[in-house]
Assembly symmetry: C2
Homo-oligomer: 411 residues x 2
């Protein structure tokens, strides 16, 4: 098999995840427009240069009673009229699916410059209704219908499964929460940057830290977020001319070095049943990461300097630690205790604050994660920069570990 | 630019569009499973050979309160566990967007055999609610909110625009309706195959043919349909070995010869305003068709033997006639009067019966159209075979002419 054509990341932008678009009286197209214009400005790309646009979105049909999301890209600039657009969905992994679709087109030689936008407006409904909408990322009739907040319960059971197989202490989940909140304080776009969450507060149940379902308390949860992020992906041809006119070298531009994409059965019970004999609780997630490593030509996590992972709940980050190979299966707690995953540690996880600290606008998250990987490897992450980051990975998950997408970003 | 790698169509299957899954007590995953198993059987492909799956679906979030459609592919066969899956959406063009995503991956060399499934379950709600859901394919807040059946009204206005620019007689729309109903009688999977609609009945308003909005009567409308269709797309590598084991020649297998994909502004008013100086009412749709022709290396419609087009309403088929270049702009009526578009005519449109006769399960339609093009060029269309069909084109539209996807299929 010949090596695929390289896919370069030229940069992008994200909205401030602390915003509430409904309170601002805004339809999602407003912030979507803002973020693409900001991405154009940040990258010095002209609208006329964009050849195709891909939108990642989970459920605007429910949150905003609107489909046909790709077409809203045309509202950003009159130049975009005629542009091929589309929308891609795999629940909370929708952003990554949009990236995969865009990068396949570049590898196929269809286009030279593409925009990928992730967008989700979630604060249009109350929390119970929102919890129900999120339940459509699982098998609704079998796992969500009639259940308040089905997802915290499903990911609580991920923790239960770890507990059963290897033992799991709540103090390690609390530490994961506190690290994400702490990291978010350095990210000027993080939703929780002005909030407070200490390890001890995350550990105990209180009026401010209620149990949502099973072992999942408020502190274990990612946020309900309105957010958009945009990225420009380019072929070698466009990247070379773009590098030249910006006084950069082509070899200094970040690329998608590898990707992995796998699907596990929708129902959480089936996932667990299927993995019973496996040392990994979510073996398909592990495979997605290994696929990304293999395509990037790296032997493992030791070649990475940072990770952006899908901490929709503290249990999913706990899972990511061993699934990335930072520890042996079931020993994620060691990485937590040893401080490996903190800023300044051997392999910081979620310098951005992740889904818990930075926020989780569902269909946007994969795009935001790649933008943050881009920032890390290009040394433009500001206060949340991991020193010397040359290669980063991300993991974006849809459903209860159903769709797993992983990417390695570097030069 | 080097020629892209060829994408072969190995075959597929569709469900009987006359079925009502809700009355059968079925979740959409049941018929989705049936249709993929039927496609596997029809093509003698083993489940273990499938490397990736793409689902086209418009709005399961609304009709079935379910997202994450790609993952449902795994429910079809246990062998599919781990497979990369995704869902793609551009309203009524969702099926084509799934085809574009799958074929890009094949051209990129990512996979050798992919399954594309289009699926929509629409008969879960009453017609007014369904009409409102379809309104999310337009800009809901601006064009659909509070309006009963917004889409017939939007496409009625497409007819009004033709009338204003070139004149339009209702008798020609009635003839288009009657041809689609007549063609559907030969298609064993068509929803209306046992219904009756003559030209004179389609022309007059009656108790059985009420006005839905503007110039659009019941006879001008496509159907509300539960339906699924599946297709297998393959690289040259897989197609060659598949041909060999089935005693076929690689050069006899149908391929996607060319494609076009364009987006116009969402709002119908803006489309019309923008095209005011253009001889074509929907210039971006025209461009999508020309792009498909150009990529297929053909000079025009005279090289085609049949067309499957998006007759969501008779006015959209009227538009397709001149936009495909069968007549000069505004002269579609000539092709209708001269019988060019009927079975036995120079260029039959919708031998299947189209969206009016065969049915219109929204996110499935693009996949069903390509399956019918495949059947025509492989001489397997049975009673609705166009004699000597070697090359066919399709046009699939999302929204009020917003997303346009066109493909040329042939050997």
């Amino acid at each position: 098999m010949p090596k695929p054509a390289p896919v370069y990341i030229l940069g992008g932008a994200q909205t401030d995840f602390a915003r509430n678009w409904t309170k601002e009286g805004k339809h999602f197209v407003g912030p979507m427009r803002e973020v693409v214009l900001a991405a154009l400005e940040a990258t010095k790309i002209e609208p006329r240069e964009v050849e195709s646009a891909h939108v990642g979105n989970f459920a605007a049909e429910l949150y905003a009673h609107q489909g046909h999301l790709g077409a809203f890209f045309l509202e950003i600039d009159p130049t975009f009229r005629g542009l091929p657009t589309s929308r891609h969905e795999a629940a909370c992994a929708s952003g990554s699916i949009a990236i995969l679709a865009a990068s396949a087109e570049i590898e196929a030689g269809r286009y030279d410059l593409e925009c990928v936008v992730g967008v989700e407006q979630m604060k249009t409904v109350d929390s119970t209704t929102g919890g129900d909408y999120l339940g459509t990322a699982a098998w609704y009739e079998r796992e969500s219908k009639g259940i308040d907040f089905p997802f915290p319960k499903l990911f609580g059971r991920l923790g239960d499964e770890y507990d059963k197989r290897y033992g799991l202490k709540d103090e390690h989940l609390a530490r994961i929460s506190a690290i994400n909140y702490a990291n978010a304080k350095r990210n000027p776009n993080a939703q929780t940057r002005t909030w407070f969450m200490s390890e001890s507060q995350a550990q105990r149940e209180s009026k401010f830290n209620q149990v949502i379902g099973g072992r999942i308390k408020v502190s274990d949860c990612s946020q309900v977020t309105d957010g958009a992020a945009a990225l420009f992906l380019a072929s070698e041809k466009f990247a070379a001319q773009w590098a030249k006119r910006n006084g950069k070298k082509l070899e200094d531009l970040p690329r998608i070095l590898g990707w992995g994409h796998r699907t596990a059965p929708l129902e959480f019970d089936l996932k667990v049943e299927e993995s019973r004999e496996n040392t990994y609780v979510l073996p398909h997630t592990r495979e997605a990461i290994l696929d990304a490593f293999r395509r990037a030509g790296i032997s493992g996590v030791e070649q990475l300097q940072a990770i952006e992972t899908h901490d929709c709940f503290t249990t999913s980050e706990y899972m990511a630690i061993d699934h990335f190979g930072i520890t042996k299966p079931g020993e994620s707690w060691k990485a937590v205790e040893e401080g490996l995953i903190e800023m300044g540690g051997r392999i910081p996880i979620n310098p951005s604050g992740g889904l818990i600290g930075a926020g989780h606008p569902v269909g946007c998250t994969g795009v935001r994660q790649m933008l943050d990987c881009f920032k890390q490897v290009s040394g433009t992450a500001g206060d949340y920069q991991v020193e010397g980051a040359k290669m980063c990975a991300m993991l974006n998950i849809g459903g209860s570990g159903t769709t797993s997408c992983s990417f390695v970003v570097g030069k």
